[in-house]
């Protein structure tokens, strides 16, 4: 399972992977991430949702 997730994560873009790791591995809030990467919270949430959707599709296969 872990390997599957790692493989799926590798298929995300660098920016998506960076943000997903900050969010779920380091428990950073969307607000914190937004301040780290200099964007707004909505944009962060969009990227996270897009990444989650991608991961779901990849893991489904």
């Amino acid at each position: 399972m872990r390997l599957d997730i790692d493989k799926a994560m590798a298929k995300l873009s660098d920016r998506e992977r960076f943000i997903v790791k900050l969010k779920y591995w380091h428990n950073c809030s969307s607000c914190e991430i937004a301040s780290i990467i200099e964007t707004n919270e909505n944009n962060v949430n969009q990227i996270i949702n897009r990444a989650k959707h991608k991961l779901k599709e990849i893991l489904k296969d």
């Binding site: 992977r17 960076f18 790791k21 380091h26």
Partner: protein, 214 residues
């Protein structure tokens, strides 16, 4: 492809928003694949944002004697990037290697004959709390808590330390002081009560490196 790990100056520039766009892309790409650097970034950012903890110097053994003589922890405002880099560098060094240089590293009495304590002051509303922490075993510390301002003899003050596993220890503050012994390295929630009314609280973590606000 994983690039080489960025040095501390790049990390500082990234946190300081002064990294050029093209370098930022390289930096973020590296962070996506290097867990150690990502962890360093998260820690460094917490430190960078914490204005109070940033006032404290990394602890060197030779500074400890000053601490005992003056009764106060040596404070220094960190303003320039160079000093910041020094601090983060020292912190990272301590964090990853657990060697001498570290940020607010908890020391045991064996480390120095002069004063084994780390003293941190924390301002919470109208109260100023000092915390003196001494490492007493490989996985635990004792803590003296002092109420520096806001204390009055007319009121009954208590400190409650709630651990992450929901166990708690409570101490009445006598003459502005309370003592907790044998605190395992864990996350805690400090609550100050005045006449049983909860006044302020402060979440923090103690580990073998030091004390961190959460």
């Amino acid at each position: 492809m994983k690039t080489s790990c960025p040095d501390i100056e790049i990390l500082y520039k990234y946190l300081n928003k002064s990294l050029p766009d093209y370098e930022k892309i390289i930096f973020e790409s590296h962070m996506a694949d290097c867990d150690a650097c990502l962890e360093a970034l998260v820690i460094a950012r917490k430190l960078y944002k914490d204005k109070i903890l940033l006032q404290y110097e990394p602890v060197h053994k030779w500074q400890v004697s000053q601490e005992k003589n003056t009764g106060q922890f040596c404070k220094k405002n960190i303003r320039s990037g160079k000093e910041f880099i020094h601090r983060i560098n020292a912190f990272m060094y301590g964090f990853f290697n657990s060697k001498d240089l570290a940020y607010a590293r908890i020391r045991s009495g064996e480390d120095t004959d002069n004063n084994p304590y780390i003293k941190i002051e924390k301002k919470l509303d109208q109260f100023t709390i000092s915390m003196e922490i001494e490492k007493i075993a490989h996985n635990s510390a004792s803590m003296h808590i002092g109420l520096q301002s806001g204390y009055s003899h007319k009121d009954v003050f208590s400190v409650i330390l709630t651990c992450e596993d929901q166990t708690y220890k409570a101490r009445k503050i006598c003459d502005g002081k309370a003592f907790f012994e044998n605190l395992p390295f864990k996350s805690y929630y400090l609550t100050l009560t005045q006449n049983t009314n909860e006044k302020v609280s402060f979440p923090f973590l103690i580990n073998e490196v030091g004390l961190y606000e959460r």
